[in-house]
């Protein structure tokens, strides 16, 4: 809480038009795959999953 260095580690999305280069992006075919991929990524990275509510999910280290 406060003062921690936050960082977007990856973006998982079902919409290719919503993301640009710069961060690792993982495309998912559908909402289920999106959930599964982001869950697996978050476990590997021990990071949190946040939903941007626009078909994108970001994996963030807090």
């Amino acid at each position: 809480m406060g003062g921690s260095k936050k960082e977007i580690l990856a973006v998982v999305t079902t919409n290719r038009n919503k993301v640009s280069e710069g961060t690792p992006v993982f495309y998912a075919e559908n909402a289920e795959e999106l959930e599964r991929t982001s869950r697996l990524l978050a476990r590997v990275l021990t990071a949190a999953i946040h939903d941007l509510d626009n078909e994108c999910v970001v994996i963030v280290r807090h």
Binding site: M1, E35, S38, R39, A48, I49, H50, D51, D53, V58
Partner: protein, 300 residues
């Protein structure tokens, strides 16, 4: 050795006072038994310093007194020691104490050694006044030691959250991906499955401050983190390592200055949660008293 009785009784009183001030509660800090051994020994040294000042003074040995006072200042190191230990252990905590809480704990440990020195000094003075009447020295020392330890310990006791705020249960909900507790958005939970877990197992409380002073005190990040840490150490945690979506979070309601806490405890017991929140100490470093200023009074 004409001062033996005075020195021994003073040192013993300081040691026992330090012992009396050691708490073994839910925090398990200082840890038992090694942490205790460290602090009891430091308390004994403090007691000895306090006790030896009296004969040194009576003998007119002022260089000895200077050295003793110099030695007493070494207790500053206690604060450093505690801070370093706790900061090093922070990475091993699922929910950290936060630097505000660590500073508070470190300060308490330093202060308690000084209290032990005061007690030892007072007992040594009493003993010397009644010298050489041994029974009177013993009884007088005992009375002074008990009274002073009790008073000092009482004066050093801070408030808990239950003293400065009202704690009530609130419902958890979601606005899109945002977890809300009593309408205050707390954090973004990305996956539907995790949102379901929050709704099923999670609990929320609102901490409503009594007045502007309490409001300003609660608006401290260290205090907020201390609440999350202490509640978890009292009622347990559901999350696993790295599962940041289940981290207990404290957030502030802008309008009222209330805090909300969203947490998934290991057992869903609302009564226990409220009792735990009420029992969290108010950090000395977080206390603010805006009402003591003219500007604050005009606002109220």
């Amino acid at each position: 050795m004409e001062y033996l009785f005075t020195v021994l009784s003073g040192a013993l009183a300081g040691f026992l006072a330090r012992w009396y001030m050691l708490r073994r509660d839910y925090r398990q800090y200082p840890s038992y038994p090694q942490g205790w051994a460290i602090h009891l020994f430091l308390g004994f040294i403090g007691g000895l310093i306090g006790a030896v000042i009296v004969p040194a003074f009576l003998e007119g040995d002022f260089s000895a007194i200077s050295f003793l006072l110099l030695a007493a200042t070494q207790f500053r190191e206690v604060r450093n020691m505690e801070r370093n230990t706790l900061t090093a252990m922070e990475a091993t905590e699922m929910v950290g104490r936060g630097s505000g809480y660590i500073e508070g704990i470190a300060r308490v440990f330093e202060a308690r050694n000084y209290l032990a020195i005061w007690v030892a000094l007072a007992v040594a003075v009493t003993s010397q006044i009644f010298d050489p009447n041994r029974p009177l020295q013993l009884v007088g020392g005992l009375v002074v030691a008990l009274f002073l330890s009790w008073v000092l310990n009482r004066l050093m006791q801070g408030n808990v959250i239950g003293d400065i705020a009202h704690v009530e249960l609130v419902d958890l909900g979601f606005e899109g991906p945002l977890l809300t507790a009593g309408g205050v958005s707390v954090m973004n939970v990305g996956l539907a499955e995790d949102r379901q877990t929050w709704l099923e197992k999670g609990l929320g409380v609102r901490i409503r401050p009594h007045g502007p002073d309490a409001k300003a005190t609660l608006a401290n990040i260290g205090q907020m983190q201390a609440i999350a840490h202490d509640v978890i150490s009292m009622i347990g945690l559901y999350m696993d390592v790295g599962e940041q979506e289940f981290v207990p979070i404290v957030r502030r309601e802008r309008e009222s200055g209330s805090l909300v806490l969203a947490v998934i405890p290991s057992e869903q017991d609302a009564e226990a949660l409220i009792a735990a929140v009420k029992g969290v100490p108010v950090l000395e470093g977080a206390i603010r008293k805006p009402l003591s200023s003219r500007a604050g009074q005009e606002l109220d």
